[in-house]
Amino acid sequence: MSNSLHTSGDIAVSVQHLGLTYTTTIDRRPTLKSRVKTLGRGTKHTRTVRALDDVMLDVNYGSVLGVVGANGAGKSSLMRVISGILPPTQGRVEVFGKVSTLLALGVGFSPSLSGRANVHLGGLAAGMTRDEIADHFDEIADFADLGEAIDAPMRTYSSGMYARLAFSVAVTVRPDILIVDEALSTGDAKFKEKSLEKIKELRSDARALILVSHALGTIRDICNEVAWLDKGRLVQRGNPTDVVDAYSQFLQVGKSAAIDEDI
């Protein structure tokens, strides 16, 4: 396991002019039947969704970047590109270190398997060895504090339990770069406190953290910097207080506009 070889201030992730487009079929499911039916009619089968547009961003070691934005703003998409799950459509992403997304490890790999089996499979899929997983397993189970439920099938888990296990895996394997996508908000108060402690600990270890959350209070508290995404574009980035204030104001405005429309 790498114990951070990086120094605070080193660049961890550099996102340059990033664009991402999803291609989805117009039908709910792409089928051969629908393709044959529309053969020769020149109908379009796909629709594109512009999820990210010319995003510039960098994250340094030793800092926590908060990412805020409405649903569908492209936050998860950005995290997927940084962790190498989705290739960008335009631009370039450079990563200097080992990334672990909170989404990435051991989460709901197979609902019929136990939490324990899912942690093993998720770890193996992410490229860990059996020994590495075995070394960390007790710590993971301890931190998640699920008790007996760790051996129950994951389909019996609540979304809070899911998030606890995933978070525990992600922080325990000590990645250089940790990405937490909207998983802090589902735990209960006690776990939330524990995970915030953990995040602060990791921050002082000179790792890089990217935190996607709707809990603006938390974002303001622990981030060094905040980026605000809207409709795939980077609206503002900078000091947490400024960006969170601007974003809350935007939300207020959106709300009153929506209220106006209702009338």
Binding site: R29, R35, G84, L86, P87, R92, V93, F96
Partner: protein, 277 residues
């Protein structure tokens, strides 16, 4: 501070193969995943329980009994050689068809994993084929027992079974890789699959023998990729004769072509799967 070189650079997706050496290295590093995933899949099918094993063996045995009765009724050959042929070929055919049926949804069912983890996607159809192989192994034991009960001939030629199984596995793997990729783009392929395998079963020398076929119909040989494999298999494990060299070469050519074509399409498309599933 001047940053060191990036450990990863992500650039726009281009059609074409990813760097193969790096791909192979990440795949090899994750071989434990394939073992573990197949094992959990087998456990789910109760492979490790006594009843699961009995069912695994009983199912094709019952099927071969039913087909044998059918053959007797429609008045074909009905001796012990024919029964041995039917059973052996059915078992090998099941290796291919199980690989197909487990492979078809392997990528689309792994949706959550694909959206949340970066890994070589080809691990999913490979695991499906490994499961099919493990389901095939006990039937080999059953056939060995059956052939000694039937008193089928024995000779050293039986060792030809080893290359035949290897070719079949390569073929089954190629099919699983291809069909899992096709299913990402056409989700209804999984629904057509049972009809396809059933048709393939009837057009293959399983319920009949390759030597029964009328000369005018011999063209099926060319278009049926499992024809030569099954013909060789029957000669070797039932009749204890050497297979025809031409059949072996044709089988190998099919297996290699399907494997490479399927793998090429899979690898050149897999980076797109996450935005498609």
């Amino acid at each position: 501070m001047e940053p060191t070189t990036a450990s990863e650079v992500y650039l726009p997706f281009r059609k074409g193969l990813p760097p193969l050496r790096g791909y192979w290295r990440t795949l090899w590093k994750r071989r434990a995943f394939i073992a573990e995933y197949s094992r959990s899949e087998l456990r789910e099918q109760h492979y490790d329980s006594v009843f699961g094993q009995i069912w695994l063996i009983l199912n094709p045995l019952l099927l071969s009994a039913v087909y044998f009765i059918l053959i007797v009724i429609i008045g074909g050959h009905s001796d012990k050689l024919r029964y041995g042929h039917l059973t052996a070929c059915l078992f090998l055919f099941y290796l291919v068809s199980n690989s197909l049926s487990a492979g078809v949804k392997s990528v689309t069912a792994g949706q959550r994993l694909i959206l949340n983890t970066a890994f070589p996607r080809i691990m999913l159809p490979i695991s499906a084929t490994v499961v099919a192989i493990f389901r095939f192994l006990p039937t080999l034991v059953i056939f060995a027992i059956l052939r000694s009960i039937l008193g089928l001939p024995i000779s050293f030629q039986i060792f030809w079974a080893i290359p035949i199984v290897i070719i079949t596995v390569l073929f089954a793997l190629g099919l699983a890789i291809s069909i899992s990729c096709i299913n990402v783009y056409f989700r209804d392929i999984a629904n057509f699959l049972p009809y396809f395998t059933r048709t393939l079963l009837y057009l293959s020398p399983i319920l009949w023998e390759a030597s029964d076929i009328k000369p005018q119909l011999r063209t099926v040989e060319l278009f049926n990729p499992v024809f030569s494999i099954l013909d060789s298999w029957s000669r070797v494990v039932v009749h204890a004769q050497a297979p025809q060299l031409s059949s072996m070469l044709i089988s190998l050519a099919w297996a290699i072509s399907i494997f490479f074509i399927g793998t090429y399409f899979f690898l050149s498309r897999e980076r797109e799967f996450a935005v498609r599933v």
